[in-house]
Symmetry: C7
Subunit: 236 residues, 7 copies
């Protein structure tokens, strides 16, 4: 009710305006966009970090391998996105550039946490300054230098998770993770848990070809894409 | 109903604003422009890629050869557009410039996928920043370095297809392609399929003189325009 | 009806906004300005190209020779405009400058088609970016390097015609051209056809002093103004 | 009626917006400002050009000689303005600067027609770009290099006249000029005609002290102000 | 009535907009500000020019000498203002700077008329461009190089007067000046006339301590402030 | 009544707009902010100038000495503010910078009057240009080079006072000052008068710990803060 | 009631606009955001300063140590924030940068008070200029060079406190602090008081794992994070 009044009064037309109860309604709408995006899961395992995402393709003539949902950011960092895909691409390109610049400047891999902070500073700008809309995308970064896995929301807030999910099935998946996640899991256990969760929420829409995944193990510190065959075998 | 309320409230007046349900209405309107554009088809064949488009001319004194609907972007890349033609021209010129700059800088042909990404980044900007409208055009790029064929929408999203269509008859043509496309087709098979599909959707409006086409074969990696005589002969 | 609703909702207030059905209403209004402009005709003949326009003067003390409606752009290119005259002048000056720059840079005359493309790119900008209105003028360019005659509209779209017309009597003149135009016509035949068409649509308002014209023949490639005496004699 | 609807809908609030019938209403309003300005007349005579204007002063303590209505632009060019006086001053100063720059650059007097074109290009800008209003002034330039006399309106359109008028009595004066103007008139005849016309439209408000005038004769090509005594003598 | 309709329609919200009858309403409102300002008088006498102004102070603890209403612009030029005082200060500082720059550049005092023109050009800008309001102040400049006394209004128009007034009592004072002013007056006569006029319009509010004044005589060409004692003595 | 109509019509939404009666309503609202600020008093005494202000603190754990209400601007200049405190801080920092720059450039202390003029020019800008609101603060400057004490309002107007007040109790304090101020007072007399006035208007809220004060004496020309003990002793 | 009228009239849509009663409503809304933030407490003890904050985490798989609520700004300065977390991060990063620059430039630690002033100047800008919203965050800085502890609000105002609180339980905690705070407390006493206060306001939601804390002692002048074990032990 109060929200509707605020809409009538126009408090939700720009992210440069607070509503009388101190909310940024445009930013809240951007978060709704994320809730409509396809689902992605990240899990920290004892021997590496893991990203698994639903590609949600249903056009038969699309080349499945061309629809990345899990992106390599640097040798030791990956990311996945949920919401407006082109917004996500812009931010992930930005992250790649920052990682590259760090390597050139300091001759060592960037720390995942500081990379995430930079991306979130950029996101924050779009919630405070006029002339543009906030980014309509949540990102999930996974990296190994300090074993973090980070979730960023459209506002530019971020948290480190042991395991989390973004997108339309976020709530159900988080429930599953809360119950079944163990810090002692290895990467294979993690993949099995992620696929099991996706199977449950996608139901009969589940298809192993819709799944995109990658992991970075603690030894090699190297982003490695999970191919469909491997996924199928592991999760049989 | 809800959309109409959102229109009354003005959520659809600029692409810098999310609607309360997290949609970008101006961008959705731009997509409608595309659906009113003339139809174009792209097909990946075993020996090359193929673009065929309806020129939709009906003024007798227009010089038909002057109405390109299929454009050469670089030696090995072509493109076709549906929606606002002058918007398309701007983006295709941009693509040409990027391809040229790549040749000058790296002394080798640009990768189609990375060219498409750059164009889509530009498209994304126009959906996030104020002061301009989104581009009202979908583009279909075809290139041979990695055999891709890409569809980009006004939002700046792109997918790689084996065969797809844009414009007013998009849905019907995609249905035909889904049923009849085979990866083993050669370019001549592809042309026949494309013309057959256009004949079906255009009905008695179909005229071989309205058709513009080009292919790039895998060996020569050279954009080649298909002349009306050849099209007429092949599709007799 | 739907248009009126869109007007009430304000979709037609700026060219940076799509209407819900994907139209750019400001651009459509700009086209109406053109339809109220005085009439101009262009014809490609076997030995040259031809522009004939109605000056529409009715003040007795205006110096008739001072009211050009057909403008020289370069030695081998001419143009005529319909709509807001001062908008037309700006674009034709721009075309002159581009032609001049081309001569200085490449030491050869500019190609008519590429000149037209540059003007149309400028026109497109004014339909996408805010802070200005679209140009309210259609232009008809005639040149001889590749025998083209081009019509550009306020949107920045252009087509090559064998014969066409712009302005208030556009539709009637096009009907006449469609019936009577032949590719074998020479310049004199063309002039006769153009004057005949203008006589028909202007009726008793027709006056040979109101007519402005020029041709560029294929041999000399030189813009030549048609004086009133010649026009009177030829079309007697 | 339709205009009123367009006013209600706000089509007339800025010159960067077309009304649904393709008009620029702000520009039309600017023309109304001109129609409320004081009257000025220009006449081309066989031995020179002539500008005569009503100063419309009625405050006894204003220094009459300080209220120029006829301005010297260059040695061989004069101008008069009707509408918003401070707008006129800005444009006339601009014209002076352009004339001066021409002398410095080419070491010869500027051509009146090209000077007028430059001023009109500036006027056009103010009818297309946002952030400012159109100029609310019409200017009448008189020069002798090619014997022109030019009228420019707020839109940036201009025509060459043998004799014309601007300001509140424009229509009546034009009627008189159409009937009585002869190309064989000399400057003295012209002055008599201009004063006669002003007497008729001003009626009992007419006062020779309200009249400002200047001529440029063909031999000397030198702007010369007409003093009140001379005017009184000639028009007795 | 019509004005009220125009207010309802918003034509008076910015100086970048003409009303349908060709008026600039914001500029007219700025003039109303001036009519509420305190009164100032300027008189050209046979041996100099004179400015006398009402300071309108009624707070007992204000230091009277600190409230200048008559400002020195250069050695030979003074000015007084009516309307928004801080606007006036900005323009007078600008005038001082221009006068100084003229001395430095040309090594001679600036001509009052050209100084006034520059200030008025600045004022005009604020009536044509958006993003700021017009200046809410009228200025009265007095200088001796060519004996002028100029009144400028918020629009940027100016006239040379023999004697004039600005501010709330403008009309009454002008009536007195029209009746009593004589060109043969010397400065003392002028001061007496000015004070007499102020006494009449201020009635029992009149107090010689409220009066600020200065003159520049023709011989010394030097701005000289009139002290209260002198004023009291002369006007006893 | 009329004000309410003007509010309904939106004349009070920006300081770049005059109301139909020539007022700047946003600026008038800014003045209301000042009237809600805490009270401050300035008095010129025979041996120096004096600033006394109410800090209005009521939180027990705030460090009282940290709440300056009287600020040192330069060695010989102090200031106090009423209205939006952070606006005041910005302007006082600006004044400090200007004073410092003056010392560096001319190697002598800045004149209080010219410092105040610069601050007021900055304030005026914020009442004429769009994109920002006017400053919501009045400042009272006290300095000794020429014994001035200046009050500036949000508009950028300033006056020199012998004694004055700003803030919520402005009117009552001014009444007291008008009755009791004498030019022969020394600093101790002045402090007693200021405290007496504050006691009267604050009533039982008065507490010597709430008082902030400073003086600059004529001999040392040195800003000196008045400590609570001294204030308590002097005003016992 | 009056506020609602002001909302209807739109005075609360931007921080560049005063309401008719001289308030900045957008700034007041930003303060409401702060009142919804999680609670944080700062206490000055006899041997150091102390910050304790509620992290308010309730997701089991978030890594608790990753959710800092107390931030190190420099070796000797810490800060905590309540309101929009990403806004807080931007300002704290800014503070870090300023502190670093101070060390580099002057080779000594920055004074807490001057650091806070710089941050508050930045905050003030966002309440006066258009194109962005005010910061929706309050910050509490603690430092040891001059033993200050500062609270800054969204407006850019700041005060030095002996003990204070920000966030949703601000009022209750301040009541507790007013009653129980003593200047003789040492850091351990302070921690106990802070935890006791948080326990009271959080009730059964209290969990020592939700608490983040740090202190800077007077001797070492070194920011030191309080680990959960220590907190648990001390507050048992």
């Amino acid at each position: 009710m109060e929200t509707m009044q605020h809409q009538m009064m126009g408090y939700d037309r720009t992210s440069t305006m607070f509503s009388p109860d101190g909310r940024l309604l445009q930013v809240e709408y951007a978060k709704k966009t994320v809730k409509q995006g396809s689902t992605a899961i990240g899990i920290v395992c004892k021997n590496g970090v893991l990203l698994v995402a639903d590609k949600r393709i249903n056009e038969p003539l699309v080349v499945p391998s061309s629809i990345e949902k899990v992106f390599q950011v640097d040798e030791h960092i990956g990311a996945t996105a949920s919401g407006i895909l082109s917004d996500g691409r812009i931010l992930i390109d930005r992250a790649r550039l920052l990682a590259q610049q760090h390597r050139v400047t300091y001759d060592e891999p960037v720390d995942t946490a500081s990379l995430v902070k930079d991306i979130c500073d950029m996101k924050q700008q779009f919630t405070q300054f006029g002339g543009a809309r906030p980014f309509g995308v949540s990102l999930l970064f996974a990296g190994v230098n300090s074993e973090p896995e980070f979730l960023t929301d459209p506002t530019g807030i971020y948290f480190q998770y042991k395991a989390t999910a973004i997108g339309e099935a976020e709530t159900e998946i988080k429930d599953i993770l809360n119950k079944e996640y163990k810090e002692t899991m290895d990467l294979e256990d993690g993949i099995k848990l992620a696929i099991r969760a996706l199977k449950k929420v996608l139901g009969k829409d589940f298809d192993i070809k819709r799944i995109d995944g990658a992991h970075i193990d603690l030894d090699k510190k190297q982003f490695k894409r999970l191919d469909t065959k491997y996924l199928a075998k592991v999760t049989k």
